[in-house]
């Protein structure tokens, strides 16, 4: 019996080893790429955040100096404020807008719903550069659509892209518009996963449109909304291309986000250690925001 078992074990072992190794081998290209192109750069960035290096000089260990400088840097806090405003306003208004759009699209006739869905989704598959260029034209002081409209209404032209207040509004409008279609699509999939029986049961209980939305749709949509908001928060904290292309961050940094300032510090001022420290702090901010967002919405899922 024991001999038989030993024989079986010895004959099975190589097969087990082979089946154990082969999958790792096949998925190893991803991990090799991940280690080389993501993990090592992250580790290097963490090391760099503790050093001073301008690209040409010798790297010198600086301890936590970069972080001390960062927290005392008024330009960083200006950029933080800009990023915070963008994240809060775009997340709240963008999610509400996308939810309203998704619910609306579910209630109109199919052909119109499909058409509108395509129209609203188009910005998601359009280059950021093209979007920013089109909006720059719309906001143009001399030739822009918005100023022409204002003029026809008897109102004064506005410097949408240079006025300290208006350029933030201009950026927020563009960002919310550009993200609406994608978010609405995700929310639509969430809406369609809600069992119709619940609505039928609600009707028996006497729900109207509002109570149906408030007591059935919204609670069951919370996982979807969590996803939309968490991905939105991560995206918005790291936003770079849109403000860079629309306003360049503003002459007095009115729309300079943390990512824009990080780019300036790293690639224009050559302070790679300082920029790495900023990247680490930005990552922590993103993590904390996402965590709080997730916790906040998750706590409300129970109903």
């Amino acid at each position: 019996m024991a001999d038989t078992a030993r024989t079986l074990t010895s004959s099975i072992q190589p097969n087990r080893k082979r089946t154990n190794l082969a999958p790792y081998l096949f998925i190893s290209p991803f991990y090799v790429g991940f280690i080389i192109f993501q993990l090592l750069p992250i580790a290097f960035s963490i090391y760099l955040s503790l050093a001073t290096w301008n690209g040409g000089s010798t790297m010198a260990f600086a301890g936590l100096d970069n972080f001390r400088t960062l927290f005392a840097d008024p330009k960083f806090w200006d950029a933080f404020r800009v990023s915070l405003i963008i994240t809060i306003v775009c997340t709240i208004l963008g999610t509400i807008g996308a939810l309203a759009l998704a619910v609306f699209l579910e209630r109109v006739v199919d052909w119109l719903s499909s058409l509108l869905r395509v129209i609203f989704f188009l910005p998601s598959v359009t280059s950021v550069v093209v979007i920013a260029y089109v909006w720059r034209q719309l906001y143009s002081t001399d030739y822009g659509y918005f100023n022409t409209l204002l003029e026809q209404l008897g109102l004064a032209r506005q410097n949408w892209l240079t006025d300290p207040t208006l350029q933030m509004v201009a950026l927020l409008v563009m960002l919310i518009w550009a993200g609406l279609g994608w978010d609405a699509l995700i929310i639509t999939s969430g809406l369609r996963s809600i069992p119709t029986e619940l609505y039928d049961a609600g009707k028996v209980d006497g729900t109207n449109g509002w109570t149906e939305f408030w007591n059935i749709t919204l609670p069951l949509l919370r996982p979807t909304l969590t996803f939309v908001m968490v991905t939105g928060v991560i995206f918005l904290w790291g936003i770079f291309a849109q403000p860079q292309l629309l306003t360049g961050g503003g002459q007095l940094r009115e729309t300079q986000t943390i990512a824009l300032y990080l780019y300036d510090v790293g690639f224009r001022y050559h302070k790679f250690g300082y920029a790495s420290a900023m990247a680490i702090v930005l990552s922590i901010i993103m993590f904390l925001s996402s965590y709080l967002n997730f916790r906040f919405v998750k706590a409300e899922i129970e109903y």
């Binding site: 090799v32 007095l252 224009r268 050559h270």
Partner: protein
Amino acid sequence: MKNLYKSKWLQIAVGLTLIMAMLAACAPAPSAPVEAPPAAGATEAPAAGAPAEAKKLVVWGFIWTADWLDTLVEGFQAAHPGVTVEVNRFEYDPYQDMVVTTLASGEGIPDVVTLDPMWTGDIIRSGSLLPLDKASAELNVADFVPGGYNMYAWQGKQYGVPLDLDFKIMFYRKDVYDAAMATLGMTEFPSTTDDFLKLAQEVTKETGKPALLIENDYYTWYTGFLAPMGGNLIDDAGTQYIFNNDVAVQSLQLYSDLATKYKIAKVWNYDTDGDPILAASSGDLGAIMNGSWFISDLSSGAPDMAGKWAIAPLPWGSAGRKYDAATGGACLSIPTKAAEPDLAWEFMKYAMTPEAQVNYYKIVGGVPSLKTSWTDAAFDEVNPFLNVPLGRKVADWSLRAMPMQLPSVEVADLITEAIAKVTSGQATPKEALDEAVQLAPALK
């Protein structure tokens, strides 16, 4: 059993080979080997007729400078058998990022690099360029315009040899300004602030339009106002910022007053005001301060206005001042990690011959810093748009241009912000410049 193990190891070997092949395909193309940098000129490049040793010299330039560098290749290769020169041409916009990233990465570094003064200061201070120790011995420094040559010196060492001189001059509507001068009884275009203000106010009064366009950036203020008024960015010792001293405050006050107090100038915002050439072609632009290269934009953008425009040195400051502007202009340099620094220096010397510099003027349009090239008849050719020998005038005026200091990009940004605060009324010149100096990175 053995077959099974063989098969397993074969799988692993094949798998690893595939992974390595994929990674190799993703890797950048092999570049010239980067060696420890010897001092420039440590060994001599082989003279003409010497046994040929195959070497490759990589030279980087942007737009027109690359076109000019191309013209040097044949002659240099003929004088240096076995040497192949490869000129890489870049568009201007991505060029700065290309240079900075390449110098920082240490991969694919050129032997000779064309640099723009707007961002060369940081590159010099980062230690990415070789000091040109042999320049003073092997080039006749007196042949260069002092403003052009000294611009690329930092803490007693030379890091670049200048190509052209880029300093601001006044382009003005001759018909409009002549009419106002006649009204005021002026016979010559003004050369002082006070006289220009009188004239510009008259122009604005007669035309109802701003007499002057000023750009909202540090370069315009520094080279066009601060320098001629006797100020500078950093003290002579290179240890302290001085762009918040009394002269600097006065010059920024004047800069702002032109638009806000005297109402003779429009502070131009390219984002909202668009291309000034459009304003020029529609007759809305009385004058603009720019480098001599601007003539090609002006003549092609507003061809109908040939003969209606004239040029003059900048008028800012009092009579008897030493300078009319500070000059910039591109240069050639050798990166610290260049593979062929000695050959690179030979190439730069070849590029600094009068013949090569005349060619530079003909192709690029900028007046060379090398004075010995100015004897060529090309400088006396009359510009058909202005009806004056533009090259000769700019060459003569360049002798009254001081070398601009090359601040870090961060300092340039801080000054630009200070200017914006002042012109938008958010701060006084003193407050804005003090804040900029306070936030500026320490000088080492």
